[in-house]
């Protein structure tokens, strides 16, 4: 492992300055559960890790009437241990409570999960179906990127040299909104998705006003499927949901690897899309 410095940034400006100084040889560092493993495996050659956990903005966790602000360094447990947040965002809890085990969830968060940009990241699809906006800071100030546009390839994202994720802005669900994430893993915990699907619906009565379906581990990035669009204006019926699940399945572009075959993953996407849509509708009905 290349020896690197540890920089504890106290502000976004300090962090950005440190990141900009080292260019591609520096990374922001929050939970460390990916960063240290990557550095140790020699996949990242680093001169500095910039700890962003001591910055006020990255620790923000604020549930407002129109927007939920989730700092980039907030660990998973803070999401599911907050009664207010878990009541408002059961779909995010689905993800936050299965990223690693309890030890990992003490440190790892949805922000880092997104920045790691793994196609199988359990948090990314849930963020996408919640219409999350990502606030990025860099040498030229701040910019915002939609969560579905954040990942650009396996392990790659829109974050450039000198940039860091500061926070996630998630619309506070209105009445009739429901979301869910499910993945398939051979083990019940401590595992990585063979395939995963997050779904959200906005209901008006039994009519789906809008829906989002995002697919994990079946392409080079998480995929925002058109299955959600196909449901807009339709009734929340089993048939419509099954048809949408078929669309999701057809849009999966998986590979075969040690975690599963392309065939198995395509099939799983159909099953999980149906199940998460059903669950999202259930939650939407409860949220009325």
């Amino acid at each position: 492992m290349h020896p690197f410095e540890y920089v504890r940034a106290k502000s976004v400006d300090e962090a950005v300055a440190a990141l900009a100084k080292h260019g591609e040889r520096a990374r922001p560092f929050a939970g460390g559960t990916d960063a240290l493993v990557m550095a140790r495996a020699g996949r990242w050659e680093l001169d500095a890790l910039v700890d962003i956990k001591h910055i006020p903005e990255t620790n923000i966790l604020e549930l407002g009437s129109s927007e939920f602000r989730h700092g980039a360094a907030v660990p998973c447990y803070k999401v599911y241990e907050s009664p207010e947040i878990s009541a408002a965002f059961p779909g995010l809890v689905d993800s936050a409570s299965i990223i690693g085990g309890i030890q990992i969830q003490s440190r790892a968060g949805l922000g880092g999960n997104l920045c790691n940009a793994s196609p199988s990241g359990d948090g990314i699809c849930a963020l996408i179906v919640h219409n999350t906006t990502c606030v990025i800071a860099g040498p030229n100030g701040k910019r915002e990127v939609a969560s579905e546009d954040f990942c650009t390839g396996p392990g790659r994202s829109v974050i450039g040299n000198g940039e860091m994720l500061v926070e996630l802005k998630i619309p506070t669900p209105k009445k009739g909104f429901g979301a869910a994430y499910q993945r398939f893993t051979p083990r019940n915990e401590m595992d990585i998705a063979v395939a995963g699907v997050a779904s959200s619906v906005q209901l008006d009565g039994n009519t789906i006003v809008s829906a989002r379906v995002a697919l994990a581990a079946v392409g080079p990035t998480p995929i925002l499927s058109t299955a959600g669009d196909s449901l807009a204006g339709k009734e929340a019926t089993a048939d419509n949901i099954s048809a949408a699940a078929q669309i999701a399945s057809s849009e999966a572009t998986p590979i075969s690897d040690m975690r599963g075959t392309a065939e198995q993953r395509t099939h799983l996407v159909g099953v999980l899309a149906r199940r998460t849509l059903e669950r999202a509708v259930e939650r939407a009905r409860e949220n009325n």
Binding site: P3, Y6, L49, G101, Q103, R107, E189
Partner: protein, 156 residues
């Protein structure tokens, strides 16, 4: 050569003040710099829990934390679990229930289980199994570990 950094923290209730290379994990810091070898390495990538320690009230895999990060923090390891002359009830229950065989995963399980019981003194079997899923054991099949934790929970 990157310079070592100074770290001041509270370790098992005692103040510590030491220098460590910034890229060294908390696991190696404990074992190599601070002489506390009770925390074990199993995988060095956050997938076995053998290196579990309590950091500021939360359990973490110390292989995925930097030693430099704990400046200002409070860390508890297996060496701090027993009171002088008095095992923690979980340690006693692990002995009585034969909840360890080779013992390499035991410190991690004990630190994890202690955090669970502090959060929830009466967990169900399901809760125990869910909470301990981040700790791998290859010897026991987990049965006696779960029973040992249940025994302490039942007597609390």
């Amino acid at each position: 050569m990157v310079e070592k950094v100074r770290v001041r923290a509270t370790l098992n209730g005692e103040p510590v003040d030491f220098l460590v290379a910034p890229y060294v994990s908390l696991l190696d810091t404990l074992r190599d710099e601070l002489g506390l070898t009770g925390t074990k390495e199993g995988c060095n990538d956050g997938n076995c829990g053998a290196c579990t320690v309590n950091l500021d009230g939360r359990i973490v895999d110390s292989c995925c934390v930097l030693g430099a990060e704990i400046d200002g923090s409070t860390v508890e390891t297996i060496e701090g679990m027993a009171e002088p002359g008095q095992l923690h009830p979980l340690q006693q229950a692990f002995l009585e229930e034969a909840a360890l065989q080779c013992g390499i995963c035991t410190p991690g399980f004990l630190i994890s289980a202690k955090a669970l019981l502090e959060k929830d003194p009466h967990p169900s079997e399901h809760d125990i199994r869910f909470w301990l899923a981040g700790n791998l054991c290859r010897c026991t099949g987990y049965d006696k570990i779960v029973k040992a934790v249940q025994k302490v929970a039942d007597s609390a």
